[in-house]
Amino acid sequence: MSMSTNHTILEMRSITKEFPGVKALSDVSISVLAGQIHAICGENGAGKSTLMNVLSGVHPSGTYTGDIIFQGESVHFKDIRSSEAAGIVIIHQELALIPELSITENIFLGNEPTKHGAIDWVTAKKSALELLARVGLEDDPDTQIKHIGVGKQQLVEIAKALSKSVKLLILDEPTAALNEADSAHLLDLIRGLKRKGISSIMISHKLNEIEQVADSITIIRDGRTIETLNVREDGVNEDRIIRGMVGRSLESRFPDRTPHIGEVFFEVRDWNVQHPQATERMVVKNSTITVRRGEIVGLAGLMGAGRTELAMSIFGRSYGNFISGQIFKDGAEIHLRNVSEAIDQGLAYVSEDRKALGLNLIDDIKRSIVSAKLTKISVGQVVSATKEYQLSEAYRKSLRIKTPSVDYGVRKLSGGNQQKVVLAKWMFSDPDLLILDEPTRGIDVGAKYEIYGIIQALAAQGKGVIMISSELPELLGLTDRIYTIFEGAITDCIQTNKADPETLMKSMTSAKKKVQSK
C-alpha cells in the first residue's frame, strides 16, 4: 500500500490545553492517516493522556484551543458520548468493565439494543457472539467479567468498541498488564483491525511493541510535539524513539555497575503455599531460593506463574495459606507470621500494583515515606514531625523525587515519582532484603534509568535484592542471577551472564525435567 492512497482521518492542529497554573499541551499537532496505527510516545507527564482526553471529549470543546478535524470535518466534542457517536473510542489503561456483569452486558452497557423499550437480549447475545469472534475470544458471552483474565478483558473492551462502529480506536497502554502471549495476541488483533480499515492511536511505554506495530510515531515531550517519525522510511528503532522522548541519547539503558557479591544470607527453603480461596490449588510448590549479600536476583515467570504469590507469601504471609517451608536469614531460621514481623526482620516488598497496594494516594509524600517504619522516628508512640520532615526531605533529595515539597500529595506525582516514593518508603525501613515486584511498570524511560540506579546502589550497600519483572531485557541488564518460575515451581537458576532470552523463556514455559520425572 503506498502512502499516497491514504487520506488523513484525523488531524489535531495546534492544540493548547491549560490547567490552572500549568500548560499541559502547547501547540500540539498530530495527523493520523486512515488505516494506520499511529503511536504516541513520551515520558510520563509529557501530555499524551491529556491529548487523548481532548480528542475523546473528556476535556470538552471550549476548554482547549486548536482544531480537531475528523474525517474531513471540524468536530467539537462536548463529552465522551459525542466522540463515540463520531466513531472515536478510547480504551483506558484501567479497564472500564464491570466485574459483576457478563461479557454481553458489558459490551452493550449504555448502548443496549432495545425492543419495545425492553432490552433485547437475543439480539444482544447474537451480536456479542459475532463481536467476540472478531476479536478472537471463545468464551461464553454470559461469563462474568471477573471470571476472565485481564488479557481477555482487554479483548472485551475492543469488542465493546467495535459494537459502537469504531473508526478510530485509541488504546492507552493496552499491554501494560498483559503477559507476552496475550500482548502478542492483542497486537495481532490491532493489526487485523487496521487491515479492515480501523485506524488506531496507541500509547505505550513498550517501545519494542511500538516498533513492531506502528506505522508512524509522534513523540511528545513537555506538552509539545517533538517530531513525527515514519517507521518504514525513517529507520526507526528503540534508541531513536528514546532519544526523541528524553531529548538526549541514553548511552546505555542500564547504569554501569561492578557487583560485589558476598555470602548467602537469605534462603527460602521448600516453600509451599496454597491459594487463599481455592484451597485445592497450590500456587507455590517446593520452591527454594537463595540471595547473597550485594546480589540482585531476578525472578522471571509469566503472569500467573506464581511470582507475586511467592514474594508476598515470603513477606509475612501476606498472600495465600502458608503450608510448609522455612526461611533462613544469616544462618538462623526466622518465622515471619505477619507483615510487621517481616519488616522487623529486615524485609521489604515493593508491590507491582503501586496504586492499590503500594501507596495511600490521599496521603502526602512525607507521611508516605515514613509509613512502613514509624517506630524509627517515634519516641514511645509519639511520631516526631521534625524527624519525619527531615528524613523524608533527605530521601526526596537523594532519590531526586520531583516535587516542590514533601508536603505534597502523592497523587499529584507522576508514576515514576510515585514509584520513587514507594522505594523511599522501603529504603526508610532499613531492609536487608528488598523484593521488588515489577518496579518499573508504567514508568517512562528516564525514570526507569534512575530506578535502576537506585536498585544498584542498594545492592552496593550490601543489601540483597529480588527483582520480579516481565521484561526480560530488564532482568538480563540488571541482575546477577535469575530464577525462572513456572506454575508455582522454580524451574531453573541461571547466572545472568550465561543467560539469554530464549533459554529463559523455555524455563518459564515448561516444568523442569527433573521435577517431571518425580
Partner: protein, 444 residues
C-alpha cells in the same frame, strides 16, 4: 503576575496561617469562617442573646455530649466505617449506671467506672464483628442500635430512673467558687488564663519546630496577630463564662470535652496509632503491606467509639438528673453530620478532630440560635438538613471544579498557581476523576 499582586497573594497566604490553616486545611478554614458568620448572624438576630453568659453556658452543657461523640465518630469515619449505635449505647450505659446507683447503691465514682466498663464491653463486642468477622460496621451498629435501645428498655422497664446528686456534677456541674470575691468565678478565670498562655506557648513551639525542620515559619506579625486574635476570643469567652449568673461558671462537661479534644487531636495527629487510622482508611491493603495490623486498628476505633458513647450517655444522664428510655435518640445523626460538615470523606482516610468539633459547633450554634428565635423543632430539622447538604455539596462541587473551596479559591496559595509541568498532574488520568469529587481535607 505583577509584584504587587504577588505580595498580596503572599500576604493572603500568611493571613491564612493565622487560622492554623497551613497549606492544607482549606476546608477547615472555610468551615471556621462559616461558624463565625453564623455566630455573628444570630448575635445580631437575637440582639446579643447568643453570646450572653447564660446562653454560652447552656450551649456548652447542652452540646458537649454530641461533640464528644463527634470525636469518636470522626475516627470511625476516617477508618472508613460508620457507627449508628452511639445513641443506643449512650442510653444503655445511662440506665445501667442509674440503676447501679439507685438500686445497688454503688458510689457515683464507681458507677462512672462501671459505665466506662460497659462501653469497653460493648465496644469489644461490636469491634469483634467489624474487625475480625468482617461484617460492615453499618450492619453491626444498626444491629447494636436495636439491641442496646431494647436493652435500655428491658433493664429500666421503660421507666425513668433518677440519679443521685454527686453524679450530676459531670453533666450539670460548674467550676466551684473559691478564693476572694472578685465578682467573677475565680477558677474559670484561672482556666482562661491557662488557655491563653497555652495559645502563646503553642505558637512559640510551632515556630521552633518549623525552624528545626529548616523551613521558614510565617512572618512574626502573623504569629503575633494569630495569638492576639485567639487570646482575645479566649479572654472574651472567659469573662462571659466567669461573669454569669451566680452558681454558674464554666461547665464541668465542657472541661471533659476540652480535655478529650486535646487528647484525641494529639492521638490522631501525632501518634503511631493515629497514623494507622488514616492509613487503614486511606488504603487498607497498602497499610497492611506496610505492617499495619488493620484488624486491630478497626477493633480499637470501634471500641473507642463505644467508650466515648458511654461517657456521653453518662454526661447526658447527669445533666438531666435521670436516665430514660428515649435518651440518645438521633444522636448518631448529629455526630455524623458534625463530622461531615467538618470535612471528613465518606470513603475514609480524611477528616480531623478539630474539623469535626467545628462542624459540631456549627450545628450547635444553629440549633441554639433557631431555638432562641423561637423557630419550631420541625423547621429546625429542615434547616439543619439543608445546612448539612449544602455544606458538603458546596465542598464537593468546588472540588470537582478544581477549587478546594470558595475561601480556598480566594486565598489559594502558590502551589496551585505555579505547578511545574510534568511533575505534577499535567495529565489528568481518567481513573482519578471519581476521587476528585470527595470532600477533601488532607490529613493534618
Amino acid at each position: 503576575m505583577s509584584e504587587a499582586t504577588g505580595r498580596a497573594k503572599a500576604g493572603f497566604k500568611d493571613l491564612k496561617k493565622i487560622f492554623g490553616g497551613g497549606q492544607s486545611d482549606v476546608r477547615q478554614f472555610g468551615i471556621l469562617f462559616s461558624l463565625i458568620a453564623i455566630i455573628a448572624l444570630f448575635q445580631f438576630l437575637t440582639d446579643g442573646l447568643t453570646l450572653s453568659s447564660g446562653n454560652l453556658v447552656n450551649l456548652v452543657s447542652q452540646y458537649s455530649y454530641i461533640l464528644i461523640l463527634a470525636i469518636g465518630m470522626v475516627m470511625v469515619i476516617i477508618c472508613g466505617h460508620i457507627d449508628l449505635s452511639v445513641g443506643s449505647i449512650a442510653a444503655f450505659t445511662g440506665i445501667v449506671v442509674a440503676i447501679s446507683m439507685n438500686s445497688w447503691h454503688l458510689p457515683w465514682p464507681l458507677a462512672i467506672l462501671l459505665g466506662i466498663g460497659v462501653g469497653v464491653v460493648i465496644g469489644a463486642w461490636q469491634g469483634f464483628w467489624v474487625a475480625y468477622i468482617g461484617v460492615p460496621a453499618f450492619i453491626v451498629t444498626l444491629a447494636g442500635m436495636l439491641i442496646f435501645r431494647g436493652g435500655n428498655q428491658v433493664i429500666g422497664n421503660a421507666n425513668t430512673v433518677p440519679v443521685p446528686q454527686g453524679f450530676t456534677t459531670i453533666g450539670a456541674g460548674y467550676l466551684p467558687e473559691i478564693g476572694p470575691n472578685t465578682g467573677y468565678n475565680n477558677l474559670t478565670l484561672l482556666l482562661g488564663l491557662i488557655v491563653a498562655l497555652a495559645v502563646v506557648l503553642k505558637e512559640w513551639r510551632a515556630r521552633r519546630v518549623q525552624e528545626g525542620m529548616g523551613s521558614t515559619p510565617a512572618p512574626m506579625w502573623v504569629s503575633v496577630l494569630k495569638v492576639v486574635l485567639l487570646d482575645a476570643v479566649v479572654i472574651y469567652a472567659t469573662m462571659l463564662f466567669a461573669g454569669g449568673r451566680t452558681g454558674t461558671s464554666f461547665p464541668v462537661s465542657g472541661i471533659i470535652l476540652g480535655v478529650l479534644v486535646l487528647l484525641y487531636s494529639f492521638i490522631t495527629r501525632n501518634t503511631i496509632f493515629g497514623r494507622h487510622i488514616y492509613a487503614v482508611g486511606g488504603n487498607r491493603l497498602a497499610a497492611e503491606l506496610s505492617g499495619v495490623k488493620s484488624k486491630r486498628v478497626n477493633f480499637m476505633v470501634m471500641m473507642n467509639m463505644s467508650i466515648l458513647a458511654s461517657l456521653a450517655g453518662m454526661i447526658f444522664v447527669a445533666r438531666s438528673v435521670a436516665s430514660g428510655p428515649q435518651d440518645g435518640i438521633g444522636w448518631e445523626l448529629d455526630a455524623i453530620a458534625a463530622v461531615f460538615i467538618g470535612g471528613a470523606a465518606v470513603s475514609g482516610g480524611i477528616g480531623t478532630v478539630t474539623g469535626s468539633i467545628i462542624g459540631g459547633l456549627v450545628m450547635a450554634v444553629l440549633n441554639n440560635g433557631l431555638q432562641l428565635e423561637g423557630v419550631g423543632a420541625d423547621k429546625v430539622q429542615i434547616i439543619k438538613g439543608m445546612v448539612l447538604l449544602i455544606a458538603v455539596g458546596v465542598d464537593v462541587w468546588n472540588k470537582s471544579q478544581g477549587r478546594p473551596s470558595i475561601t480556598g479559591f480566594l486565598m489559594r496559595d502558590r502551589k496551585t498557581l505555579v505547578r511545574e509541568p510534568g511533575e505534577t498532574t499535567g495529565e489528568v488520568p481518567l481513573s482519578d476523576t471519581p476521587d476528585a469529587t470527595r470532600p477533601l481535607v488532607p490529613a493534618p
